[in-house]
Amino acid sequence: MPRPTRTTDSKAVTAREKSAALRREHEARERRRTRLIVLAAALVVLLVAGVVTFAVLRERANRPSLAGVKTYTVQQGHTAKAVTYAQTPPAGGEHDPVWLNCGIYPSPVRNENAVHSMEHGAVWVTYRPDLPAADVDKLKAAMPDTYMVLSPYDGLPAPVVASAWGKQLYLTGADDPRLAVFIKTYRQGPQAPEPGASCTGGTDGASGTGQTPSGPGVAP
């Protein structure tokens, strides 16, 4: 059978060229589509990464910093004697065998008892006696109902000072947003040597002072 002779039919040439052109056009379209799909997928990846980064950064920025918290190495131990503390107010140290009952006190409490409560995981919030009554009310409202002591304190280095065992933060006042963060972090926190030990069944403040117990007020 004779092989078909190479066609020189102009119609056939045109058809081949046409089909080649179509193929090129098709390939170009494919390439454009590929680029679009890759671009879209890359955008999705970038978008997800961006949203996550933004959320994390915003979360960090909104968290009040506890950078101002001072950390002290303090001694444990019981003594019935008066103790001279390195910090004002004390942020831990030797203390009375009897702890202070947690609660809200309208007048100053004995250091040696309050320090024992901090050993049990309480946060002790102290304020200058001249703090306006409205601000004292704000502090009362910010107190959890257990493992907290609130009392006025003479000669404070700041309007309000929050203390926990080995930790202390000077606050600008009752509105300082770091108070809530300090309480959340250190009340029954890992720095306390005996968390969960009682903050009741101790003294209402009369121990060693000979004064009439003032007694903790009604906690909110």
Partner: protein, 221 residues
Amino acid sequence: MTTGRRAAAVALALLAVVGAFLLGGQLLRPATPSDTSAEAGFARDMQTHHNQAVEMALVVREKSTEPVLRSVAYDIATSQSQQSGQMFAWLTMWGLTQTGSGPHMTWMSGSDGGHEGMSGAATGAPAGAGSGMLLPDGRMPGMASSADLARLRSATGRNAEVLFLRLMVVHHRAGVVMARAIEQRTSRPEVLSLARSVVSAQTSEISQMDDLLSARGAAAA
């Protein structure tokens, strides 16, 4: 491979990266309750609740000479401080603080499988908010007030025993409601196990304390 297939493959690979990223975030995140979870809320609130029961039991033990009541008080003080310690340890192991951010009982306002628990309707407070379950002075249900505790501390003899029993029955009832509420909201075995212990122990102690009240000629709480 045609360009179309290649494009699809590249796109699929990129989406797989995204998927892995999202899924990995879920899987790699430690499978423990979050700071605002019902489990964390329960662990914090129930510690506070239990610790007050321990306090009241120790107060009455110093005042009573009656062996059965002293045993009940001893039992409550030791078992509830042990359970309180379990809940403390959960929070530590979950990497959470012992102190929450919101008001007590917020965890009980969430989804509860259709059970109402301590709803606002029961306390006359608006439903939907955790604080709506609290007593007007901010106490959790069942908690004795500062005035109640002061009366208990100053009472003596039979009066102290009766006051203790009444306060503790009310305290236990609310404890059982809280334990039932967490049973509806968790699948964690350690939490379920403790919740069931609380329900069974406190339910039987309530009936025992009711008996002790009637033995003293006092009305039930």
